[in-house]
């Protein structure tokens, strides 16, 4: 193969990537090998770090998370050198900025992501409930429906599933809870101060902890996206927090709940709160150790082109990084909520990766471990946050 690309490991994501790559192969006449990487982002990052640390030319094009450009920049080429000067002009500027490190464009936005709430239309209708606007409402509704469904014989039915394993996904989930409260809390603010020990956070975590074994199975503490989707898609959950990619899957022909699913913005933290979605999304970068950087850049350009993004939006409900596509009829037909949730996507809150830099993985790790402890019921929220505060101080040391 002339090039090697690593793109998602999750089933549909991988297939979409393969399809796109295949099209480029047909068009350009080059061959590309698609390698699969671990499901979990944490794992994937460490793999990349090893690859790049080894200065290995094994992977030319990498799919990198929005939080990684800062960390990986030294190992990535400046795409400006290989792409036309106006290459980035149609993209969300915020993401382009995110991907520009010291003036070098290290990655092209590929798809953006923000957490959304999936719900079962049929069941809410059945029990005459509204789509919840706050976490509290969600809790109530989940409780009601869960009790009802269990009564009706589905003893494995749960109210809410999310990503609760101690990994990056939990950081995202928890940040969404915390940020949704009025004056939304943060872990580390833009100035680099450690701010996690705030009342919103405690409130949010206390509520989340109450879900376990109430409306969420205890196993959720070991769930990633796919496990959550497994439960939801097999008809065993009322609500699910997930990324937009799941839309296409739950709406697929084999899905038990096809056409019974709705998607809304995540609930807000209380009456005065606001819905908060954490910015996710992935970008395509070219390794500095690639033997064919020009060719690789061309592949990146192709994959991030409007046609390709549109196709991915329609086939896989991946959020385009081109504002224009959010008005595209065909896209909206396939994924109606792209229109309704446009604000959610544009105003998604970033994780504190920029300010914490190299130490972000530790910060995230400390954070999700604490949250996990709280969710497991091993510590009270406040107590956990106290601990986290000092833990983060320890990590911060003499500075980020």
């Amino acid at each position: 193969a002339d090039l090697t690309i690593s793109c998602g490991a999750v089933g549909a994501e991988l297939q979409l990537c393969q399809a796109g790559v295949a099209r480029w192969e047909a068009q350009s006449g080059h061959s590309v090998e698609v390698v699969s990487t671990p499901n979990s982002a944490t794992e994937r990052l460490s793999l990349y770090q090893q690859i790049l640390g080894a200065q290995s030319s094994d992977i030319d094009v990498l799919q990198i998370d929005v939080v990684w450009p800062g960390m990986l920049a030294p190992h990535l080429v400046d795409l400006n050198q290989y792409l036309p000067t106006n290459a980035t002009q149609d993209f969300f500027q915020s993401i382009v900025d995110n991907n520009t490190v010291d003036g070098r464009l290290v990655a092209m936005p590929w798809f953006t992501d923000a957490g959304v709430l999936y719900y079962r239309k049929d069941l809410l209708d059945k029990y005459g409930l509204e789509v919840p606007a706050t976490w509290q409402q969600l809790t109530e509704a989940a409780r009601t429906v869960q009790a009802g469904e269990r009564e009706a014989g589905n003893s494995g039915f749960w109210g809410y599933v999310f990503q609760g394993r101690a990994y990056e996904g939990l950081t995202v989930n928890a940040l969404e809870w915390i940020a949704s409260y009025p004056e939304g809390g943060t872990i580390v603010n833009d100035q680099g101060d450690i701010t996690i020990d705030n009342p919103q956070a405690a409130q949010a975590l206390t509520l989340a902890a109450s879900w376990i074994n109430d409306i969420s199975p205890q196993g959720v503490l070991n769930y990633t996206e796919e496990e959550a989707r497994g439960v939801f898609q097999s008809g065993n959950a009322l609500f699910m927090r997930n990324w937009p990619y799941a839309w296409d899957l739950v709406q697929s022909e084999q899905s038990d709940i096809r056409d019974n699913v709705g998607v809304v913005a995540l609930p807000a933290g209380g009456e005065n709160g606001q819905s908060a979605a954490v910015l996710g999304g992935w970008n395509l970068a070219v390794s500095r150790y690639s033997e064919h950087p020009q060719l690789a850049a061309e592949l990146v350009a192709f994959l991030t082109s409007p046609e390709e993004q549109k196709r991915r939006a329609i086939d896989g409900s991946y959020n385009p990084t081109l504002p224009a596509l959010y008005q595209d009829e065909e896209v909206l037909a396939a994924v109606p909520f792209f229109g309704t949730l446009y604000n959610t996507f544009t105003s998604a809150i970033p994780r504190p990766s920029a300010v914490t830099g190299d130490k972000y993985p530790r910060v995230s790790n400390a954070f999700f471990n604490t949250v996990h402890e709280v969710l497991s019921g091993n510590t009270e929220a406040q107590q956990g946050l106290d601990g986290l505060q000092s833990e983060l101080r320890r990590i911060k040391g003499r500075g980020w």
Partner: protein, 280 residues
């Protein structure tokens, strides 16, 4: 009399019950993996204790993945090479340690023993560097080299014990016949050590076949991965299911050869371990 026979019967029943419990305990997980792997995806989430209808689709899924086949190939290459290298180096070292008295022998033995208790993580970064320097990163060569860290010590240890058990007179006879150490080792000892080498080789094979941490750390691309990593990283084979079926199928596929080997060699393994561990 009757009391005695009654007691005998009760004892016998108790014994067979114990055997049954142990058997179930030992093989049920593997059996369950087999059962799971033979279920069509639609039945995956219904717990059942046996297969009603055999369905090979999971196997088809796994075996049709080129990455999995590559992983199997890599595992075979790595494991076989590791065995050969460990046996070759182990045999020569075992001769030196087992049959020659020289100053520093105990020290070497202690070093070998010490190496065998290295935590893998403790050498991870240094080894990473060595492998990078040797340009073996993300290639079977890197794994082969790194696996010697745990296969070599016990190979040396076990073979040394076996080597010691060979009668001194045999070697002296060879000396009187004018044989050099190398001739003695290859022409006289090696043919006699085949059983020990088979045991040690098998143990090394299993260790190399099963190794995970180095394989995860020192390989990156699917084409270079070994089976344990491939299995650990298997994710949705197709879009709409949790990949338990394929994972179980893959597990069964990689386990069966080992189980067969172990069953064939079980007696040898016992004696090999006896020699290596208990007397050593």
């Amino acid at each position: 009399m009757t009391l005695r026979t009654l007691k005998g019967i009760v004892l016998k029943i108790g014994f067979w019950l114990l055997v049954a419990v142990l058997m179930v305990y030992a093989i049920f997980p593997f059996y369950y993996a087999l059962v799971t792997s033979l279920k069509p995806s639609s039945e995956l989430f219904q717990v059942s204790y046996w297969v009603d209808s055999v369905d090979f689709s999971n196997y088809a899924t796994v075996l049709s993945q080129p990455t999995f086949l590559a992983a199997i190939r890599n595992s075979v290459i790595v494991a076989v090479s590791v065995v050969l290298i460990a046996l070759l180096l182990g045999l020569t070292a075992a001769w030196a340690l087992g049959r020659v008295r020289f100053r520093g022998r105990t020290t070497v033995m202690m070093i070998v023993l010490g190496v065998s208790m290295f935590p893998q993580v403790a050498v991870l970064s240094g080894l990473f560097e060595v492998i990078r320097t040797l340009d073996l990163y993300n290639s079977p060569g890197g794994l082969i080299l790194s696996y010697t860290i745990f296969t070599l010590p016990f190979t040396v240890w076990i073979l040394t014990t076996f080597m010691r058990q060979l009668p001194d007179e045999l070697e002296e006879a060879a000396i009187v016949d004018g044989a050099s150490p190398w001739v003695t080792l290859t022409k006289v000892f090696m043919p006699l050590l085949w059983p020990a080498m088979a045991t040690t080789g098998l143990l090394a094979f299993i260790a190399a076949w099963n190794e995970f941490l180095f394989a995860l750390t020192f390989t990156l691309t699917d084409s270079q991965r070994t089976v344990p990593v491939a299995i650990a990283l298997i994710s949705g084979g197709s879009q709409y299911e949790l990949p338990w079926g394929p994972i179980m199928a893959a597990s069964v596929i990689v386990t069966v050869p080992l189980v067969v080997l172990v069953v064939i060699f079980q007696r040898r393994i016992v004696s090999g371990l006896t020699a290596g561990a208990v007397k050593g």
